[in-house]
Structures are given as structure tokens and as C-alpha cells.
Amino acid sequence: MSLPKTLQQTFSPEEIQFIVENEPIRIFPRITVRSTVRQRRQRSSQQQMRWRLVTAEETPLNNMVATQTTEVALWLALLLKQQGKCSIVPPVWLTLKQLQMYIDYELKNPGRFSDLPMSWLVVAQLLFNRAADDLQDPVHLLRGKIQDLREIRQGKIFQGLKQLNESHLQLDNLSILEINELRPFVLGVMNKLKDLHASVADEEEGA
């Protein structure tokens, strides 16, 4: 088979990360790339290197000015960060205070999920590992909050699995990684329930 069995039914967490890495995030560049038209003319012979990209917007990169925030794809931000060329502006929800608010919401509403961004778990994990010094609060405390959120939500998800049926489920505000983790179980059971009910469907048709 041209695609390994494990990838035929679901995505790997790395693939989910890849998808999320295309989302935009704000950075503080530490370098200036933008040059004035005059500067460019002067060095027309010796070409200044430009970014030319095929998967992400190149304009913000070519217009980078040190300390002026701009927005680039997450993977680019991480790469520039790795090279010491920028710091990353963490998303506003990634603070102890905000996360605590989400935790409170999750606890208060056992039947619902807070509207964290679809990519919260991936973004948090990537920034913890690769841009810890850009975060507002100590990373070990933030990690703790994210872990709490994950556990509370997972508990609720598992409660919700009792609702599996042969018709459909609505799962608003579940993040992309949480969905992916659940996928084999949810689809496996629901497809079997569907087959089970389909076995007597003809009788209903006749009735």
C-alpha cells in the first residue's frame, strides 16, 4: 500500500502540528530587511537577498523592520526564533490569568467546552518548547495550566463518549488535536453501530 495503514484512517500528531504551523502569529523581528526604493537602486548591481516563498506570505518578511511587529506563519516564526532573529508575541490566551479563566469555564460548564482556538494545544506546546523566553509567565506554570485544561477536557470528552450513536455527534470547540486523538475510537465505534442498525434497516423500509 502506498500509504501506511496508520495514516489511512487518521493524521499523525506531527501532521496536525504541520497543519497548525501554517497559521499566522505575530513576531518582533530583530532584523531589518525592508530597504527603501533608493537603497535598492543604489545597490542594483549587488542584489539584496529577498524572501520568495511558495507556502506562506513573503511580503511581511521582506518588509521586516526591527522591533516593529508583523505577522508570519508559525513555522517561519519558529525558524526565525531558532536563528535568533525575532521574538514571538505569544497569543493573548497563553497567560496564567487567561488560562485560569478557561479552566474556570470548563469546570463550571460540565456539558460544554470553552472556545479555545482550534489549535491551542499545538501552539502552546510549540511555544513552550521553542520560545519559552517570550512567554509572559513562567513556562512551568503555563505548562501546568495547559495540562489541567487538557485533563479536564479529556474527562468531559470521555463522559461524552457515552453518547456515541448511529446518527451523528456535535462537538463544537473541540480542538484539532483533541479530535485527532479521539478519531480512531469514535469513528470505529460509530461505524460499527451504523452497520449494526443498517442490518435491520430494510425491515423499517417495508414497514
Binding site: M1, S2, L3, L7, S12, E14, E15, Q17, F18
Partner: protein
């Protein structure tokens, strides 16, 4: 009982399938030549029975119903045998496909070419099939997909450059982008795409 023989074959297939699933790689146990041949023989026998029944029926006009019941049984036994045989062979060819897409394909094809395939677990026809399929893949990779490397890694690129350690001495290795001198336990910083193959082949380990 008719169909018992082919059941053994299907159980054999089930075992192979389980082994591949638990080890997350492809193995092919020895091709069950005897079982396949004996099952085919059983089909021949059934076919003779069916013809005998038919001629008897034409001769002495036995109770129509009884003859047809006997006839059905032989027919179903033949069908069952056919399904088992095809499923056995199909599972094996699927495994061969998977092998051809990863390094095992290269290895086994090279081994076959070098005449080491004599005691292999493949049947002669399977060797042929693997060779043909490897050629199809090679042709797929050329033309408009030349730049894509279709048999390359299905793990998303997370870092362009990675640290690697050399696991075994291999002297100088020529890659698309330059020469690496592989000395055991040395470490270097390389473009991931350049060393992907060497990692797959077990020369390098990603750090």
C-alpha cells in the same frame, strides 16, 4: 469438510496481518505452496462432483430439488475456496506493495537481482510481481513528480537542518547535495532532506 483447507490459509493470513500490525512493519511468512495447491485440487474435485451430479440428473431425473441442493453445496464450496485463496494472495500482494514503497522493497529487489531470492519466502510469481511493481513506482517517481520524491518521508518536515550521529562507519557517501564522510560516533549538522535516506538505511541517527 470442504473449505477446511482454505481456512488454514486464511488463518495463516490473519497471523501475518496481526504480526505486521503489532510490529508496525511488513513481514511475509513463507508462501504456503502446499496449502494453495491442495485447495486448488479440492476445487477440481468439487468441479468433478458438480459435473457428475449434473450428468446423473440428466440421466435419471432424480428429485430435482435434492440434486439442486447437492449442486449448490458444491458450488458454494468452490466459491468459498476461491474467496479464501484470493484473500490470502491479495493480503500478500498488499504487503509486497508496502515493502516496495519503503526500503524493504529496494532491499528485496536488490537481493532478488543478486540471486539471493532462492530461499526467500516469496513464490516465484510474487518475486515477479514485486519486480514489476517496483518498476511502476520508479516510473511514477519520474516525469512531473521528479522533484517531489514520492517515496520520500511521509513525516512532515519540521526542521530543515537537523543534528545527526553516525551509527556505523561507511566512509564517504555521495548524496545529491555533497559528500559526507561517515565515521562512527561523529556528529554533524545536515539538511534533513540530504540525510533522510541514510537515516532510513540505519547509517545515521537523528539527535
Amino acid at each position: 469438510m470442504y473449505g477446511d483447507l482454505v481456512n488454514k490459509l486464511v488463518l495463516e493470513a490473519k497471523r501475518a496481518q496481526q504480526l505486521n500490525e503489532s510490529s508496525k512493519s511488513e513481514h511475509l511468512p513463507m508462501y504456503q505452496d502446499d496449502l494453495v495447491r491442495n485447495t486448488l485440487r479440492e476445487i477440481e474435485q468439487l468441479k468433478r462432483d458438480a459435473e457428475l451430479l449434473k450428468s446423473q440428473q440428466e440421466l435419471n431425473q432424480v428429485e430435482d430439488k435434492v440434486a439442486r441442493c447437492q449442486h449448490f453445496v458444491t458450488l458454494l464450496c468452490m466459491e468459498r475456496n476461491k474467496r479464501g485463496l484470493l484473500a490470502y494472495q491479495k493480503l500478500r500482494s498488499d504487503t509486497l506493495d508496502a515493502m516496495a514503497w519503503n526500503k524493504h522493497g529496494l532491499d528485496s529487489v536488490t537481493a532478488l537481482a543478486a540471486g539471493e531470492g532462492a530461499d526467500a519466502s516469496l513464490s516465484h510469481q510474487e518475486e515477479e510481481y514485486l519486480k514489476d511493481y517496483t518498476q511502476i513506482i520508479a516510473d511514477m517517481k519520474s516525469g512531473e513528480f521528479t522533484d517531489i520524491d514520492l517515496s520520500g518521508s511521509l513525516t512532515p518536515p519540521s526542521d530543515v537542518f537537523i543534528d545527526v550521529r553516525v551509527l556505523k562507519d561507511a566512509g564517504e557517501i555521495q548524496t545529491e547535495y555533497g559528500v559526507f564522510n561517515l565515521i562512527k560516533d561523529s556528529q554533524f549538522f545536515a539538511r534533513q532532506a540530504d540525510v533522510e535516506r541514510l537515516i532510513q538505511q540505519g547509517f545515521l541517527q537523528r539527535l
